[in-house]
């Protein structure tokens, strides 16, 4: 086991730079998830660590060892691929043990490790089958077994669950988490699926356009996104955004847009205080929007509330997503299921001003200065319950 360090790592493909100045320190035994949309450079970073892609500039270390120029087999890493990459002509047992045989381990030791992995991953009945005789989930477990028996310094997972159906994905997610905790190997995990990212990660690295947007533990990234991109990317359904401006009103600040007017509580006031009439974007998580009780008859729904037309309800079970058209934009509210208005009805959504996010025009967050951000009472959305 070992730590992993990226120092100013850059990757160019021809004239295109896909990873810019990437820095990351992964502690021994830590599980770090690289998350981002397609083309953000996450898989390239993983492949550079594995030695499957050259590094244009910078240094990659595993433990104290500079591995930047080493071939894959000398790096002591094992990888699980999206398409499993099992050798089709070999049985599960042969697939798992091949790397050990090539490293000329003693036969008894190979046997021991294969049965150890077989036991952890419940593979025993499958060991003599070939990949085409197995289901997707079973193949994925064999691929994990192949990585585990190597007892590598670092595990790499490259979107290992994307080819599985939703049910199996959830199950395999638990298995990966369980396996990683049990063997305690430093792990880098790449995914575009934020549920996977949030549930598995000790720390998240959010990437966009080959640049790191934020590094932090999942809850911190969710509660205090580093910029508008992260705010919109992490969270399902995504954060709602409203463009508007900040106005000074006596000694307080008010967010004003064409559909909403909401005074900011003192603890949310940005520091330094921006000029009056500064263009900003207000962000609010779907679960921080609530359905106001009873239809408001007044034209003005009141401060901190917006009026709109309910266009779609998605019942997910305990929770329901309400799609509400407000002016020319759509807001999504995540509320408890129950007796809810039907599509076409007019509704009023209210928001708790203490749970708002403010972003400047360049996407950077307008954070409160000396005021503590009141996030302790917040709850994560239902999707992120482990």
């Amino acid at each position: 086991m070992a730590s992993v360090t990226f120092e100013h790592v850059r990757k160019d493909f021809g004239t295109t730079t896909v990873v810019h100045d990437f820095d990351l320190q992964v502690a021994d035994g830590e599980l770090v998830v690289l998350v981002g949309g397609s083309g953000c450079g996450k898989s390239t970073i993983l492949r550079m660590l594995a030695g499957l892609e050259s590094v244009t500039r910078g240094t990659v270390r595993i433990g104290e060892r500079d591995v930047t120029q080493l071939p894959p087999r000398e790096r002591d890493v094992a990888m699980v691929f999206q398409d499993y990459a099992l050798y089709p002509h070999l049985t599960a047992r042969e697939n798992i043990s091949l790397g050990l045989r090539l490293r000329k381990l003693a036969k008894a030791e190979i046997e021991r490790r294969v049965s150890w992995a077989g036991e952890i991953l419940e593979l025993e009945p499958l060991l003599d089958r070939k990949p085409k005789q197995m289901s997707g989930g079973q193949r994925q477990r064999v691929a994990m077994g192949r990585a585990m028996v190597r007892e590598p310094a670092v595990f790499l997972f490259d979107e290992p669950l994307s080819n599985l159906d939703a049910h199996l994905r959830g199950q395999m997610r638990h298995e990966i988490a369980r396996m990683q905790r049990r063997v305690g190997t430093t792990t880098l995990y790449v995914t575009h699926d934020q549920v996977e990212a949030m549930t598995l990660a000790d720390r998240l690295v959010v990437l966009e356009g080959g640049r790191v947007q934020q590094v932090g533990c999942p809850v911190d990234v969710y509660r205090a996104p580093a910029n508008r991109f992260v705010a919109g990317f992490i969270g399902t359904p995504p954060m709602n955004f409203l463009d508007g401006r900040l106005e000074r009103e006596r000694d307080s600040m008010v967010f004003v847009s064409d559909v909403l007017r909401i005074p900011l509580p003192p603890e949310l006031r940005p520091d330094p205080t921006p000029d009056s009439d500064t263009a900003v974007t207000l962000g609010v998580r779907p679960e921080d929007l609530a359905l106001a009780r009873g239809p408001s008859t007044a034209d003005d729904p009141g401060p901190g509330s917006v009026r709109g037309q309910l266009v779609l309800t998605e019942v997910l079970g305990a929770h329901t997503h309400l799609h509400v058209e407000v002016g020319d934009r759509r807001l999504i509210a995540a509320v408890s299921s129950g007796s809810l208005p039907g599509p076409g009805q007019e509704v009023v959504l209210s928001m708790d001003p203490r749970r708002l996010h403010l972003f400047a025009a360049d996407g950077s967050p307008l954070r409160p200065g000396s005021h503590e951000q009141n996030t302790d009472a917040q709850e994560l959305g239902p999707e992120f319950e482990p």
């Binding site: 990888m79 990459a85 090539l102 192949r146």
Partner: protein, 270 residues
Amino acid sequence: MKRAAFYFLLALAAATFLYPFLWMAATSLKPPGEVGGLSLIPDQPTLENYRLMWARAPFGRALFNSLFVATTITFSVLVFGSAAAYALARLSFPGRRALNILTVAVLLVPAQLTLIPMYTLIVQLGWVDSYAALIVPFAFNATAILILRQFFLQVPRSLMDAARLDGMGELRILYTVFWPLAKAPLATVGILTFMGAWNEVLWPLLVVRDEQLMTLPQLLTVFSLGGGAGPRALATKLAATMVMVVPVVAAYAFLQRYFIESMASTGTKG
């Protein structure tokens, strides 16, 4: 009714292909008196023609030469051809594109055109009357490279990555991961190469004069040209032809599944 007519037509077509072959097999077993007939069953079957053939020319040696030359060529085309195909398909190096184009360009040059320069080369190398002259010019084959390259392009990249992480070098990846996946194209290339080498007659006639080094088709040609014209001579020549044909037919019978499969797929993929 329509179906019956269809089968009748198929049977007729099969008969036109099969009859000459069966007649040849039958006639090689006939005594001189029966040779002129069209019957497929000899009245008095005899192996005399085979004995005579064996006694008059070194057909045993020629059979060995043919087998040795064709097998060596096939083996070499598969080993070197797949290595070249692997490099052209899956490794990145300067000049790869140019080499790919060059490989295709080789196919555009008819073999007859290179016959004389190749002959001159063999003479200058002092390889006339040697196995090297029969084998080396055919040991590398552009068609084989193209067929295999096309297949190797379809092998998922992750499989190579997994093999590299498992500790394999490129040659091991080629021969232990790609080869087992490429059974059908390898079989096609193998059969085509073996048949080509087995039937080759023009080139051996040019570079081999020593009877002990002659291949079967070459010896057969020489034997046919000089073996007399009577019914006995004809039957003996047919016996020699049978010796040449039987191994190829046997190989085809064993490998026809691969052969048809890969001929069909190379058509669409290539």
